[in-house]
Structure formats: C-alpha cells, structure tokens
Amino acid sequence: MLNIWRTAYGKLSSKLTRPVLKKFALRSLGTFNFVCATHLFVQHVGWIHLTDGPSMMPTLAHAGEWVLESRLIDPQNLRRGDLAIYISPLDPHRLVCKRVLGLPGDIICVDPTGDTAPSAEHVVVPKGHLWFIGDNAEFSRDSRTYGPVSMGLVRGKLVAKVWPPSAFTVFQNNFNYID
C-alpha cells in the first residue's frame, strides 16, 4: 500500500516539478491574482461606468455616457449638491446616481409640486442619513418615494463625465444659497 502511494507521489511530483508545468501553474495563478487586484481596485478606488436612465437628464444623458467614479470618499463629507452613487434601497443589486439635497438634521419639503406627497409635508433628515433627489424630478424615483437614504448605502461620488469627449465635464459643486 505504502509502495503504491510512494510511486504515485513520485510520478506526480516529478510531473509538477517539470519546469514548464510549474511555470504555467504559477503564471495562471498570477493572472488570477491580477484579476483579484483589479476587482479590489474597482470596488474601493474607482472606475468608469456607463450611465443609464432618464432620472438625471440635464446632467447625464439618457444612455451612452461614461462617468468616472471615485470610491475614496467618506459619506460623512458629502455636501449638498454633490452627485453620489448608492445602492438602491428598493433593490440591493442596483446602483443609482442622484444629487444630495439634504444632510442629517435638515428640514426638507418632501415634494413642493405635491405630486408624490402633499406639498405641506416636511421631514427632518435623521442622523446618518441623506436626502437624494434626481435632476429630472418627473422621471426619478428618489427620496420622495423611499425617504432618507442611510449613509451605509452610499458607495461613491461622480468625479467627471469622460465619454463622449465632446461632453467632457468635471462635476463641481454648484450649490447656491439664497439669502
């Protein structure tokens, strides 16, 4: 029994130590490692993404635009008017992009037009939450439907629109206060 084991092991090890095979195994493991590193980069640093949907219409087109996204942010540091990316509270597999309207403690009128909620309804954004709204209010499902969004769902922030080149813009915070 031991003898069989020993010969089998000998054959296998001689095969594995054969330089070509060993090199091939090491190469494929290295490629896999590189794929993992890329995945980590996309998840934690940032990448370009294709946008889709009419909810941010004047800022982002309906389809076919690529945006650069940064994940190196702390949701606590988001300001009013920033474009943020978060996991949709209605579907955990969907990432959506909306504009920050309210920070924790702000009093927000849910919908001034009175379409989705009575226009007199006001809410206070709770601790650790943000109020998001789409730029194209009529075709957007945002905080007016699902209420304040927890900062735990926020994943990143839009930095720039990179494609098509004619539409290249760096998103800057253009939030104005009216005295």
Binding site: N33, C36, L40, I87, P89, L90, D91
Partner: protein, 208 residues
Amino acid sequence: MSRFRPISTLMRAWTKAKDYHPLSRWTLSTLIWLPIGITFTELFFTIRTVSGRSMQPTLNPDSSLSRDVVVFSRIGQLNREDVIALSSPSDQKLIVKRLVALEGDRVKTLPPYPDHEVVIPEGHAWVEGDEPFKSEDSNYFGPVPLGLVDSKLSFIVYPFQRFGPLPTPLPPDINAPRGPEWRSRVADYERQQKRIARVTVAPPKDSE
C-alpha cells in the same frame, strides 16, 4: 536614450526589491498574493469576533468567558430566521441581528416602534436581536434596506464546545431529565415560536 518600457522597468524594480534583504524576499513574495485573500473574504467567507449582548443567548451567552468568533458567509440566499451582519442605518457600525421578516411580510412590532403592525416595503427587511431589551433593532429604526446587509452567520468557531452551525431549536422532549440545560432549550424554542407567530409571511412572488 533608452525606450520607455513600463513592464520591464517594474519587473526589474521588483527583483531588486526582493534581493534587497533575505527577509524582504520572503515578505514580498507572500504579500504579492494578498489580493486573492482579500477578494476571497469580500466575496465568500470572513471570520469575525462578535461583541455585545444583543444576540444573547444565541451568541455571547453569559456562560462563555470570551467573545464568540464566528464565520460569516456572503454567498447564498437570505432566509427568515437567519442571523445576519449588517451595518447600522444610523451610524454604519456592523451589528449582528436576526432576520425576522422579508419584503411583503406583515410584522407585529414591539414597544418602541410607533405603529402596531408594519408591512415590510420592497427591498427591505425586519431585523431584531434575540435579547429584546438590550438590542437596538428594527423596533427602533424601522425596516432596513437589504443593501445594508453584509453577510450571514455560517458557523461558530471559537468556544469549541459550541463549534458548528447554530442549532435549530426543537420542541422540548418531555421525558428528558429536567435541569438548567433543558430549561434553556425550552426557552430557546418558545422564543423562536413567539417570533415566528408575530410574522405573517407574504406569498412567494413568482407564484403567478
């Protein structure tokens, strides 16, 4: 002037760094494989220490002297009665709770919650701690979006006498000898039955 060759320059820098010191050779050739390890913990399984009393007596019971070490899995579907780790909606801290109800279910709430009954909205879940008084759960902050769920408990590792997946509470055996262990088992079973009785499960979506 030589041509700019990024890959070969990198490779040369890499060999140079490795040959700098016998110890650096060993550390660097181990660290280079770190992405595989981190990706594994982010996509499949992670190991964590559970602190706090909110899941007593399922986790960190008074009888154990140290904190529980537990393996959490990120694969597979979430079911009612699973123990899950999620980030708290108000301050992003990771908390461990029991998943009581999923979207569409009707739950009878416990005191701090303003309404007597809630229907869980789309994409949300109702989570509660096993210890009803020392737990900040959905009865405080309402239904939580499923996007906040991080992973679900797979099995306990550290206090070795409780190694393995969480036991499902069974109806108590009447003929078994009475004792503290028997009583705690009965209490576990009754707690589970009470929890299940408060939830009206929605019919599955794809039944049409």
